[in-house]
Symmetry: C2
Subunit: 228 residues, 2 copies
DNA sequence: CGCTGCGTTGAGCTTCTTCAACGATCGTGG
DNA sequence: CCACGATCGTTGAAGAAGCTCAACGCAGCG
């Protein structure tokens, strides 16, 4: 598929004129990454940002003893590392492809010119940054104020909302990844899923989860319910 | 002091023309808050953002059982709640004045017009959002990957950096506030300060802290050092 | 003087992690 | 086609970190 067509499907770029899409297409490059391949490391000089065309990428922090916390998972049409364009140098986290992925790179300097000449692009960018700030806020809230069962409950409800409120949902990532996203480890996640199950809040079959007691999950998410 | 003069000292607004300052001054209102007074609650309809003229404001999340996590502390010249202007409705956290404060309110709709007509203002705003995203990233990293001693060590080093690398520093907030900022409780913070002291990393006299072993603190911050 | 906010200390307990082992699944190469 | 290794998920037992609850000291201030 032509680059321009793919650009047109990226939410950040909606509202650009054809001419601007052409300009954008001129400055970007694309690249394939294998599963597990590092796109950049935390602290690397930040020379631009990225757009996922296909595949999935995790943005994460890694501690000196190898534990990781996923900040963000991106899929097709989503962007990451925009922060590097606007503040500081150095990427704020590490980006790793979770599967074979095609990624677009947008160099910083050329993009800054584009955005300065285009208020609607700037507005999109601010909306995107603001949305991520929101997500980070709730992430901080969850890590600090909720225990793992509450975080998990909140996440399941979030997934259900995204699926239009369905009670059946399929985890879109490995459980080890989910654990890292929730700020815990696979063992603990496994046990908590078990506990939610035996409390009849959900039922689990592999990556398929059925919400049995939505109200109970909501109570759990806000800390109003204690598990057996 | 005239509003326009105060606006000129806000980093977000650097680079505006005199005319734009006048426009801005037309749309803002200012208001005084007492110590402890709530400026807005998490989830309140977000109709604009704020600039601290004097005093201090904490932005925090509060759990149902009353625990709080401070996301951000603002002082004179700093802004908060910009997120509400660009994404979603509803403030993402609660804002409370820590002391008698004079706060400027900038209504959303008028500001959006201003920013669309002014690329440099937009760039400032994106830089501000990006900077906050960075801080939130490290906050998530700290909460998830570091234990309290490591978070405290990192924070003390950060304060020292801000003070130009001085070894003597004074906590600019109550210890209970610091605890909430670090994602812990006053009791734990007190004990950890004690431990850092008896490990000869710092010495503590009330809100005055002296760094005795900077290298040790750095090791602690990255998890390379275990306390006795 | 008494009150209130703040900080500290102690004891007990909950939650989560660590470490180790094991089963299942899947893709690959022999 | 089967065997193998790798990845992933689960389970158990033990330990560490931090929280809860309660009590107390201390300063500032009405």
């Amino acid at each position: 598929m032509k680059i321009v067509e793919q650009l047109a499907r990226v939410p950040l770029f909606v509202g650009l004129t054809d001419e601007q899409f052409e300009q954008l297409a001129m400055i970007v490059t694309d690249q394939d990454f294998r599963r597990g391949q590092v796109i950049f490391y935390d602290g690397d000089e930040g020379v631009g940002f990225y757009v996922v065309l296909s595949g999935r990428v995790k943005i994460c922090k890694v501690s000196s003893d190898g534990k990781e916390q996923i900040l963000h998972l991106t899929g097709p049409g989503e962007t990451f590392a925009e922060v590097a364009v606007f503040a500081g140098t150095g990427y704020p986290a590490t980006a790793i492809a979770l599967e074979k992925s095609r990624i677009l790179f947008v160099p910083k300097t050329a993009f800054v010119e584009l955005i300065q000449a285009n208020p609607s692009l700037a507005m999109n960018m601010m909306a995107s940054l603001a949305k991520r700030l929101r997500r980070f806020s709730t992430m901080i809230e969850n890590l600090s104020l909720r225990e793992v069962p509450g975080r998990l409950a909140a996440h399941l409800l979030f997934l259900s909302d995204q699926a239009g409120g369905a009670d059946q949902l399929e985890l879109d990532m490995a459980k080890a990844q989910l654990a890292s996203l929730l700020g815990t480890i696979p063992e603990t996640l496994s046990r908590i899923l078990q506990r939610l199950s035996s409390n009849s809040l959900i039922s689990v079959q592999g990556p398929l989860i059925t919400i049995l007691d939505r109200h109970g999950l909501e109570d759990l998410a806000v800390g109003e319910l204690r598990l057996e």
